[in-house]
């Protein structure tokens, strides 16, 4: 199984740590704390304990020492939770800072019309949706938009990290440009599609910083459950003095505070937002930008994944498998022309043509320096070679491109190309292959059959998806026969042949009617409706602005099978929440056995039987429990940031494993931890 590995960043980078410690203190601001009800409650209780401790110290009460220690650990609990969140945010902030640099002090040259030649310099920040701007080589594109005129190569490394420039042109499926990227060559006119503050770059910065992070629906539901548990424990602890009064027991309020805080789910409460931020951060590291956390959660639920065949299931580049000459040309002639035209062609197709020609006819590279290679360009859509000081030309390209070239060639045969050429082109097309026409001096020689090659390892990736419970459906414009052949070879569960945008949309709707969650990847303008309709639409960054707007995620590397990673991150996100919630609840059992006997030992010495851990003294027991409760947050930060391990497996297996680790572990760990802390406290004479 191949899994994308993100660029590694140290989990706990020194600079981030230092920053996070500072932030943890800054986050004590009540306006901030109130967003996290569990930690806010903890802070309130800590404040109350502080007042009581100060009063007790003032009156010289015997228990002031232990009260002060408990109070300190209550504050530590709050700080540790803040710290967890600050660390998660810190990791995003570094990335945001570099993004922001590409935004700074950009200016734009606004034009009134595509052909207008009198651009006006304006600050990029004043651009509105619908404005036209002119961008030439060396310019930074001032905002998100669509190319409406021209063609250019654009360096998008600021966003994607990919250093190779990409082509952006008007009209086609590669018209979208992103603010902050740089034009490397040529000249384009861009229609701005996003208002300031709403650009892709802005969203991305906000996202990685976690600044405007909205709680996801699932996070809200979990928060409600956690608040509910807190309320239950509030009832338990608040009524305990009344019940205890029957036996004449008086419980110091600070001890009750300690009991309350150890019982409420501070562990998951403190780590919940860190889990969410870290999840988004992991996504960013895989070069995927999600427009909302909701989409990431939905990804964990995907039932059906729709994938385009080309570039996803099969290599976007195809392999040459046969030379099909027109009737009056020899196969060797065709092969030779193809060979020569492809010698300098570094694309996989080109290389495969050279390889095929070599193996079929043992052709060797001519020693002549007379070859002048013509690279593929966006305008000509052909590549080839000029020989003998430009007297001879060989070109290869799509049938229509070659037809246009041939028609324009001075030696062109009247009446177009050979009649059987069309037949050959169709024949290749029908078998699921791609025909590439080769022409010499304006005269088509024949067709190279380029065949779809199923990507190596793709079967395994589909098997992985199947293990995750996700059905894959291949979408292709091919005829059903070809589609079936490729589907079988690739191991997808189903296919949609002769797909049209309408058919795609219909398929998604049909699946959704049945209650399934559908994910789909797409890049073209005609994918936009389907991307919008799908529950998780992953737009390729190379695609159109329309597609990027319609999807709820953008894959900067434009790798459609990355959905596996997206799904895994979605699942990890949920699993981390579930695991830590379970752990948090399971912890309470040990805490009860530590604290309850301590509180009532004076009235009922028999309760010593419940002191299973044989903690040294009532004070030490309470202190140990509250210390454990605070430290466990710090101990679990790495887990919250990394996420719980996810291996594709049936739900039953996953649950069993997680219950064993986090349920049983959560039950046992605090018994050991509290006992160890108790030993330490006793050794240090703290209680």
């Amino acid at each position: 199984m191949s899994i994308h590995r993100p660029s590694s960043r140290s989990l706990l980078d020194g600079a981030i740590l230092a920053q996070a410690i500072g932030d943890a203190v800054r986050k004590l601001d009540p306006r901030f704390l109130v967003k996290n009800p569990i930690i806010f409650t903890t802070a309130l209780v800590a404040a109350l304990a502080t007042i009581l401790t100060v009063r007790a110290a003032g009156s010289g009460a015997a228990q002031a020492g232990i009260m002060a220690q408990i109070t300190a650990w209550l504050w530590f609990t709050v700080l540790f939770a803040n710290f967890a969140e600050a660390i998660a945010e810190g990791r995003g902030k570094a990335q945001a800072a570099s993004l922001r640099r590409s935004k700074a002090d950009a200016t734009a040259r606004r034009v009134t019309a595509t052909e207008a030649a009198d651009p006006v310099e304006v600050p990029a920040a004043t651009l509105r949706s619908g404005d036209l701007v002119l961008c030439e080589a060396g310019d930074t594109i001032p905002g998100d938009g669509d190319v409406v005129a021209g063609i250019a190569t654009v360096d998008e490394s600021a966003i994607t990290g990919e250093s190779a420039p990409v082509i952006r042109e008007s009209g086609g499926d590669r018209s979208a440009v992103t603010g902050g990227t740089r034009v490397v060559s040529d000249r384009i006119v861009v229609r701005i599609t996003a208002n300031p503050g709403e650009t892709f770059l802005d969203r991305m910065i906000a996202l990685v910083e976690g600044a405007k992070r909205q709680k996801t629906p699932n996070e809200i539901a979990l928060s409600i459950l956690l608040v509910g548990m807190t309320l239950i424990f509030l009832i338990v602890v608040a009524t305990l003095p009344a019940w205890a009064s029957w036996s004449g027991t008086r419980i110091p309020v600070v001890f009750l505070a300690a009991l309350f805080i150890t019982l409420i789910p501070t562990t998951i409460g403190g780590l919940l937002s860190a889990i969410g931020i870290a999840g988004m951060d992991r996504l960013v590291k895989f070069n995927v930008i999600a427009k909302s956390g909701r989409a990431v959660e939905a990804a964990g639920d995907i039932d059906v994944l729709l994938l385009d065949k080309t570039g996803t299931i099969t290599l976007g580049a195809r392999q040459a498998v046969a030379f099909l000459p027109v009737s009056d040309i020899g196969e060797r002639d065709l092969a030779e022309a193809a060979f020569l035209s492809s010698l300098a062609d570094e694309t996989p197709e080109g290389k495969s043509i050279v390889a095929l020609a070599r193996s079929r006819f043992r052709l060797t590279e001519p020693g002549s320096a007379n070859l002048h290679f013509v690279p593929f360009t966006a305008q000509t859509r052909m590549s080839g070679v000029d020989m003998e000081e430009g007297r001879h030309h060989i070109r290869k390209g799509a049938a229509d491109a070659i037809a246009a070239y041939a028609a324009a060639h001075p030696h062109a045969a009247p009446g177009g190309g050979p009649r059987d050429l069309i037949g050959l082109v169709e024949q290749v097309g029908k078998s699921g292959g791609t025909p590439l026409v080769v022409a010499r001096d304006g005269r088509p020689l024949g067709v190279i059959h380029l065949k779809d090659i199923v990507k190596p390892g793709i079967r395994e990736r589909f098997a992985t998806l199947r293990a995750m419970g996700i059905r894959t459906v291949m979408i292709t414009g091919d005829n059903p026969l070809t589609a079936a052949a490729i589907a079988a070879e690739a191991g997808v569960d189903d296919y949609l042949a002769e797909a049209t945008p309408e058919k795609k949309l219909e398929l998604i709707r049909e699946q959704q009617q049945g209650g399934r969650l559908v994910a789909m990847c797409g890049d073209g303008s005609n994918d936009a409706p389907a991307l919008a309709q799908a529950d998780v639409g992953v737009a390729m960054n190379t695609g159109t602005q329309a597609a990027r707007e319609a999807g709820n995620m953008v894959d900067l590397e434009s790798d459609p099978t990355k959905l596996i990673e997206i799904v895994m991150i979605g699942k990890q996100l949920l699993m981390s929440r579930g695991a830590l919630t379970t752990f948090s609840i399971a912890n309470d059992v040990a805490k009860y056995f530590a604290i309850i006997p301590s509180l009532f030992l004076a009235s009922y010495p028999e309760l010593q039987a419940l002191n299973l851990m044989h903690l040294a003294s009532p004070q030490s027991a309470i202190l140990s429990a509250i210390i454990f409760n605070a430290l466990i947050i710090v101990a679990l930060i790495p887990l919250a940031l990394k996420g719980v391990d996810y291996k594709p497996a049936p739900a039953q297996t996953l649950l069993k494993r997680n219950l064993l680790i986090y349920g049983l572990g959560g039950l046992v760990a605090p018994f050991i931890g509290i006992k160890l802390i108790d030993l330490g406290i006793t050794a240090l004479g703290l209680a």
Binding site: R471, I585, P597
Partner: protein, 559 residues
Amino acid sequence: MDANGILLIILLFAVVLALTPVLGGYMARIYDGRARWLAPVEQGIYRLCGLDPDCEQHWTGYAMAFLIVHLLGVLALYGLMRLQAFLPFNPAAQTAVPPDLAFNTAISFATNTDWQNYGGESTMGYLVQMAGFTVQNFLSAAAGIAVAVALIRGFTRRSARSVGNFYVDLTRTVLYLLLPVCLIGSLVLVWQGVPQTLQGSVSATTLEGGRQIIAQGPVASQMFIKHFGTNGGGFFNANAAHPYENPTVLVNFIYMASILAIGAGLTNTFGRMIGDQRQGWALLAAMGVLLVAGAFATYWAEAQGNPALGFLTNMEGKETRFGIAASALFATVTTATSCGAVNAMHDSLLPLAGMVPLVNMLLGEVVIGGVGSGLYGMMVFVLITMFIAGLMVGRTPEYLGKKIEAREIKLAVIAILATPLAVLGLGALAMLTPAGLAGIAAPGPHGLSEVLYAFASSANNNGSAFAGLNGNTLFYNVILAVAMLIGRFAVVIPVLAIAGALAAKKTVPPSAGTFPTQSWLFVALLVGIVLVVGGLTYFPVLALGPVVEHLALASGTLF
């Protein structure tokens, strides 16, 4: 513990297990409208009420109907008790029931609690017993079942607005289920010795020449519904320990089986209605695990004997014909199901044996539970369980294809919070006020257990008692009634809201990533969640009550 006792436990559960699919199937026929053999009576009732039986209600309408039926029931019952001196069928010339006691009792019977702060034979005339209590026994049971059915419909329906018609569900439950079974069952009880007469008390001259006034009445007709509908309100003060209410081992067995029958059967009805009976069996398995564990725990604990009396068999508060085994089993069954009938005095159980009934109630009456209330109460825990399980398998949580989202969790949390608030909160009030403390009979930790038991019983609509507590005071009459109201309505209304929310949702088909809820792992997790939620909530008070009493008694301390 002996072989006969263990055999009794096994036989009871075998019988209940065998009844489950039979009753479950029949109930499914009732609620999808296939049972029609009483159609003329049924249609007549609808015509009188001005009801269109095909007109279904939104959950709010359903809840409103539930509330109004209860409100009117309370008023009618209160009126009957206050006016009984002027009404017929009162051979013992019982006088008006005092207002606070009548208030408590009216709420108690309408909410299916049947807590009794009075001695039946010394307080209530036959008309109150028949037209008051028996009617509420039918209605409160039917209302609980109706709510459970509405919740089941929440799962079976897709993108629907309505959850059924409360009046129709109520009527059909009484007509097709409760009344026919009770009619036959009552006659079996009479055959076994349960009286059924309108004559007044009998005056006997005993063998030694003393005078014995023996209370009589229309007992059998009330007894069957009392157990079948998990009501539990006794005709006599001693409840099902009274030889007239529960004369033989056979009757005792019939009572236990009938207490469990509907609750267990509804799990099967649930399975049938959602189209997968295994889902129902899984729920029953979870309930069954807790029930069997409780039954053996009580039996084992009670069979130890009283250490303070040299481990003398603890026959205090028990009847000879039932002995330890049938008393311990009955105690488990009646508290697991929110029935509350008792054939032994729970107050005199050994501390750990008394703790099991207490825990059964504190868990929220979901171990089989009351008729209907057990299923819907358990369903609240299922939602919480599946929420956590869903997270742990990496899917946004769902159950039976319904996504569990913030709204459902919020409602489930309200339902779960209601009872601890009533038990611990109102109980604390009793522990702090002189009026509350005045009612406690036992000194030491057992006194705390009495109060805890009273509030656990009221707030979970059980009705059994550690009867040493003197509940017939203004304070307890009022505060326990409040606990009963919270226990009934603060659970039912969120549950109906959940039903409405679920019905409105689409249904997601299961996939390989869905956690199967017919599995033993689900059963184990559900049991775990129920125990953890209950355990964490009540550990401190249980430690201060039965646990410390047990430890003290074992070390020879008396109170």
